[in-house]
Symmetry: C2
Subunit: 318 residues, 2 copies
Amino acid sequence: MAPDAGNAAGTVAEGSAALGPWIDGCLARFERAARQALPPVTREPSRLHDAMRYAVLDGGKRVRPLLVYAAGEVGSVSAAALDAMALAVEYVHAYSLVHDDMPCMDDDVLRRGKPTVHVAYDEATAMLAGDALQAEAFRVLAAAPLPAPACVALIHELAVAISTSGMCGGQAIDLAAVGHKLDLAQLERMHRMTTGALLRASIRMPAIAAGFAGAAGGMASALDGYADAIGLAFQVVDDILDVEATSDELGKTAGKDARQNKPTYVSAIGLEAARSWAEDLRRQAHASLDGIAGVAGIAGAATARLHQLADMIVLRRS
Amino acid sequence: MAPDAGNAAGTVAEGSAALGPWIDGCLARFERAARQALPPVTREPSRLHDAMRYAVLDGGKRVRPLLVYAAGEVGSVSAAALDAMALAVEYVHAYSLVHDDMPCMDDDVLRRGKPTVHVAYDEATAMLAGDALQAEAFRVLAAAPLPAPACVALIHELAVAISTSGMCGGQAIDLAAVGHKLDLAQLERMHRMTTGALLRASIRMPAIAAGFAGAAGGMASALDGYADAIGLAFQVVDDILDVEATSDELGKTAGKDARQNKPTYVSAIGLEAARSWAEDLRRQAHASLDGIAGVAGIAGAATARLHQLADMIVLRRS
């Protein structure tokens, strides 16, 4: 079932359909759901709604929604419930970018190839748009078509992932780390919080919903292993691309980490070692998924998209 | 049952114990619950946790928690569940103040008699502390000891109250209104969103929980009427105090509305008319509660604290 993890040129799971069309379908589906769910600009306060839509729509790799949809294939969760989870994790991601780009944080002007929200609108609107997107993430989960115990578990999962033991906590450590040298363990801990926690939640949430909906729960530890590996891999590759890629390719300012004197995997262990570590993590991700083959009632094919996404995350060029 | 609403000197509901000791008990209970629930400074990131505790602890009138505890008396909801709701609404209130005080919004340096969070810490920490407090509000509700359907309903209630049709939306309208003249209807709409929506949620949440826990649900419209009246009254009195009180009395910068050219009830209808309107709203709040006397199984005494809080909100001096 697992692709040849040793093939650094990238592979797709045997027997599964090509990733490209599946991703295109997911992106279209997400965009449609988001356009419908986000408050319309025809309603007041229209400028705030416009800023929220600007922050979420038409851009981004949608890694978190893709992980939701891919993990959703391991269990029986309705399409509408998966859409709700995809919206929630992407709203949170978008809000964190909007706040992170503001002058008092990273002070950045370019994101997803467009001016950042505080540049396109103003700082106060950017702050409120971020605040409201967080509230919308929880609203959409509370309205998800799932049994109430599953809704509560998803909301708890997301809240913990983005509070101080997760995303916000990681950002605070990130801020404090500017200009300091972090060792690999400290760097790993920071990134497990800053980006890893939300990526992990994106994979765990469909599994939680499936567990409540009657699917096998034994896959949790396999998915956690996968989530941990791709969460770290994502950040290692981000650090590599910040050095290797151009702003045009990234759609955001390249070379920023070094200029801001931020500790990265590249500065900690060097470019070659970082590349090799990303490849190790990709291998770990694939190996973790093999554990799911042992879970009763789960077809191996159900993890095909997750295998493919692990490859995509490590082998991406932007 | 209702106090003499026409007595502008303030009254307490006949037969109910004095308000002061009850409030003191609630404040001590809330403070204890918050100290325990907020992430400790002994855990990393300690500066962020310190800022969150600074924003929430040791200050504020705790109007929203008091409304939760008072409304909790109309039904059978456990003390621990009421604490969770009180924490959630106060976390949200605190986060909104932290963000609102930042330079890109109201740019204020004094709050609850102390330097604002971005002054005591820094802007980035203030932003993250606000963001994390919002996440904690939903986390604490998702962990509340209540049946799952009640948890989901509370989370949905709070999310809607603080998103763009509520608090965040009202703040956006407030920002856009600076320097403009709003008529009374526009002003009322803005305040129903900015402050009214969260005050209303503070009262509705215990009723929602009680409904799920088996108490009568027919009181909802009476409580809504009460919530609407005291929500507006709260803001009218805020506007009056901004003119009449000193910064020392308020614990925040006085006279700010006029200096910032913000539309207020005082600027819209004059001080005397504003005073008289606050008194009308107090009367409406009391009258709404009388509707609960007709609900089966609800003792009139259960609304005594709500009657008293309506008086306190209108007759307060800070």
